[in-house]
């Protein structure tokens, strides 16, 4: 019975072999252990000897063929036997000489395609922006990431220890992260004393009192647990840092708001009258000036008059800004942003109004650029539209102060000895006591009161 002779395994690691020369030709008789061919393996040139006896009926591969292990190379049997069923049809038994080269080319082509340079990475303006980038006061020249290192840092913390990481990533030890998960601690609000600002167990002891210390897991069914957004993390980190490290004090004034309210009405009437109109009436809504726009202008002028209030604290020096850039807090769906109105002291109220309207719209659409939200010198936060009478705001470091503005209240006032209908506005200035002292804050507020109660001053400056 004729049978196929297959390429034998001639070394432990052999997967294919080069059949270099046949030592038998078709028709030769073969005894067990006769040398059939020589095969070059991955290790050596080996003898391919027969395990069978009979007649070599057909050679299936020519000399110098690369043959896979187990691939038929010859047929052995009795002289004159019919081997038609054993002869492989088509190219099944063809050695791989040319195929290998083709594969090589294909591989190369694929590699070329794969390595073709791809388009440059697309800019991602839609990406959420941090509310305020960590400002680096130019004047300090320290190159540190923030201007307000924690004065409470322990002496053992090394110089870089107390800095939040420049990339905004919270660094914490695995154990700290576990505890934070269990007790719902927001680590973005914790200052790390370890290397590279790593929050370590010791730092948790100084963290703000934990909300009743309860474990999240036990209330997981009841509570709506939402992962922190980048914005929320940044707000948490920066405001915690501010409240923990900036010594706040608060000064409140309550002013007569009737003059500024009247001025606003007059300006808006004029703006409406002068607004372009189109035939079909689909022109954009005419610009309106808000009380807040007027207050921005008023604050800007007051800051020019009292430059000690337009200042920042750094560990090395007090920085008094020559520019008046006012940050305006804008509520957005998942937090708040503080775009900056630059050089507000030199801009008209209308220009300020236009800018604020544009900045606020883009803030809500998350289209502000980081530089539009950084490097303010003073902030205004207005919750009047939410019905708040008066409140105190958290300073936006490294700024030295923030003005919190309530709503204009219609109430009875005594005017020239008589009780009349009046309009009042309460404003609270939060000051960083390291740079703005009480008297300076009071002086600023006096100027502000004067500007609000006699707003025509704003027009002549």
């Amino acid at each position: 019975m004729a049978k196929l002779l297959e390429m034998p395994k001639l070394s432990p690691t052999m997967t294919e072999g080069q059949l270099t020369v046949w030592h038998k030709k078709e028709g030769d008789s073969v005894a067990v252990d006769d040398l059939l061919a020589e095969v070059e393996t991955d290790k050596a040139t080996m003898e391919f000897r027969s395990f069978d006896k009979g007649t070599l009926l057909k050679l299936l591969v020519p000399p110098d063929s690369l043959v896979q292990l187990g691939q038929p190379v010859a047929i052995i049997g009795e002289q004159g036997e019919d081997i038609s069923k054993l002869v492989p049809t088509g190219g099944a038994a063809a050695p791989k000489q040319s195929g290998a080269a083709k594969n090589g080319e294909a591989t190369e082509a694929q590699t070329a395609a794969a390595s073709r340079p791809s388009a440059p990475p697309k800019a991602t303006p839609d990406a959420p922006q941090p509310p305020t980038a960590n400002a680096t006061p130019n004047a300090t020249g320290t190159g540190t990431a923030t201007a307000t290192p924690t004065p409470t840092a322990t002496p053992t913390a090394n110089a870089e220890g107390s800095m939040p990481s420049p990339d905004g990533r919270v660094r914490a030890s695995p154990y700290v992260r576990k505890v934070a998960r269990e007790r719902s601690i927001d680590l973005s609000g914790v200052a790390g004393s370890g290397p590279h600002g790593r929050i370590v167990a010791h730092d948790l002891e100084r963290a703000p009192a934990l909300p009743s210390g309860r474990a999240l897991a036990t209330h997981a069914e009841a509570d709506d647990v939402r992962p922190l957004s980048m914005m929320r993390k940044t707000i948490a980190r920066r405001l915690t840092e501010s409240k923990q490290t900036v010594p706040h004090f608060y000064l409140t004034i309550d002013v007569d708001a009737a003059p500024i309210a009247r001025l606003r009405e007059q300006i808006n009437e004029d703006l409406a009258a002068g607004a372009p109109r189109s035939a079909n009436g689909d022109a954009p809504a005419p610009l309106k000036v808000s009380v807040n726009d007027l207050l921005i202008k008023a604050c800007a002028i007051a800051l020019v008059r009292v430059p000690q209030c337009n200042a920042s604290f750094t560990p090395e020096a007090l920085v008094f800004h020559r520019r008046v850039d006012i940050s305006v807090a804008v509520a957005v769906p998942d937090g708040l942003l503080t775009p900056v109105v630059r050089q507000a002291d030199r801009k008209s109220v209308v220009t300020i109004a236009q800018e604020v309207r544009d900045l606020a719209a883009r803030a809500k659409a998350k289209k502000l650029r980081p530089e539009e939200m950084s490097d303010g010198t003073f902030s205004i936060s207005n919750l009047g539209m939410f019905g708040i009478d008066a409140f105190a705001a958290v300073i936006n470091p490294p700024e030295g102060a923030i003005l919190a503005v309530g709503k204009i209240r219609a109430e009875a006032v005594v005017w020239e000895g008589a009780v009349v209908a009046g309009q009042r506005l309460a404003m609270t200035l939060s000051c960083d006591h390291r740079v703005v002292d009480g008297a300076v804050g009071a002086k600023f507020l006096a100027e502000l009161r004067s500007l609000v109660e006699r707003p025509t001053q704003m027009l002549v400056l």
Partner: protein, 340 residues
């Protein structure tokens, strides 16, 4: 101690058994040698088919050594061998099925498929293993003999190795300890002339390996293997000495392997003519001729087809057996709980 030394010339002829007894023993020897030869040939075929992996060192040509030596033993005596261990395993009485299944890496192999060709073990037949580090098993074999002496169980240990092992420390330390402590062991150096592929003259300063015994005051013997009965007799003498006096012996058995060192050895270090010359002295062929000459030729057909059937069954058994599963890995690494 007094060194007992023996050479070929001093060797007395063993008492010749009665002719019919000798013939029936020759048939038995021939059967065992043929079984080994066929097992090796079929394992070579299976290796070529990719059914056996790793290294495969064939014993073809050397069968008379293991068969003759083991014939000189009692069933309880121990043998320890090298990685070229299929012949020894079969000569010591192991079932070819369990050998073949081990080569195939199957769970039914003598070592559950964990040892492979080089590491055949069988506790029941006192086959204490084939070992893959040249010379590393010789001290171990001395330890087995030490245990026999310690327990006074009267057993003898045969330790097989090639002439390549004679150059490594383990051989010398084991000879030194065995002679010092009078351990019942016979060291059998199967000198097949080529270590792996380098002629003896290029690796050793003396051609006569048995001379190494002199340094340890150990008995020695040397023979050129031509006949399985001669191997049995000469090893038997050393075994008797070990059993009665506890004295070790170093025997050099000059032999010749017809195949390469392993399956990946092309054998370029020797000429085809030399190989053909040695094949003329094939002890297997000669045993067969002696049977025919002795008038028992008619028994050969049945014996040989019997062997073929045994080999076929062994291959089929190996092929059909299941592979070992991962659960035996840790269980065979430690006795008791795994130590991690």
């Amino acid at each position: 101690m007094v060194a007992t030394t023996k050479t070929n010339s001093k060797k007395p002829e063993p008492a010749a058994p009665a002719p019919d007894v000798r013939l029936s023993r020759l048939l038995a020897f021939y059967r065992q040698m043929l079984l080994i030869r066929r097992c090796e040939e079929e394992s070579a075929r299976a290796y070529a088919q990719g059914k056996i992996g790793g290294f495969l060192h064939l014993y073809i040509g050397q069968e008379a050594v293991a068969v003759g030596a083991c014939a000189a033993l009692k069933p309880d005596d121990y043998v320890v061998g090298t990685y070229r261990d299929h012949g020894l395993a079969i000569a010591k009485g192991m079932n070819v099925k369990h050998v073949m299944a081990e080569l195939f890496g199957k769970a039914t192999g003598c070592s559950q498929g964990l040892g492979g060709s080089m590491h055949l073990f069988d506790a029941a037949h006192h086959m204490l293993g084939g070992y893959g580090i040249v010379g590393g098993h010789i001290p171990l074999a001395a330890g087995v003999a030490f245990a026999s002496k310690y327990r006074e169980d009267g057993r003898v240990t045969l330790c097989f190795f090639g002439e390549g092992a004679v150059s490594i420390g383990g051989f010398h330390e084991a000879c030194s300890l065995a002679a010092l402590w009078k351990l019942p062991i016979v060291f059998i150096c199967e000198n097949n002339e080529y270590s792996m592929g380098t002629p003896l003259s290029r690796t050793m300063s003396v051609e006569d390996v048995s001379l190494k015994a002199a340094a340890y005051g150990m008995a020695k013997d040397r023979l050129f293997v031509r006949d399985v009965f001669e191997v049995e007799a000469r090893v038997g003498e050393a075994v008797a000495r070990a059993r009665s006096t506890g004295e070790p012996t170093l025997i050099e058995a000059r032999t010749y392997r017809f195949r390469g060192h392993s399956m990946s050895d092309p054998g370029k270090y020797r000429t085809p003519a030399e190989l053909e010359e040695h094949k003329k002295n094939d002890t297997l062929v000669q045993a067969r001729s002696a049977i025919v000459a002795g008038g028992a030729g008619e028994k050969l057909a049945e014996l040989e087809s019997d062997v073929e059937r045994e080999i076929e069954e062994a291959v089929r058994f190996a092929e059909e057996s299941p592979e070992p599963t991962a659960d035996i890995l840790e269980a065979t690494t430690y006795s008791g709980p795994f130590a991690r």
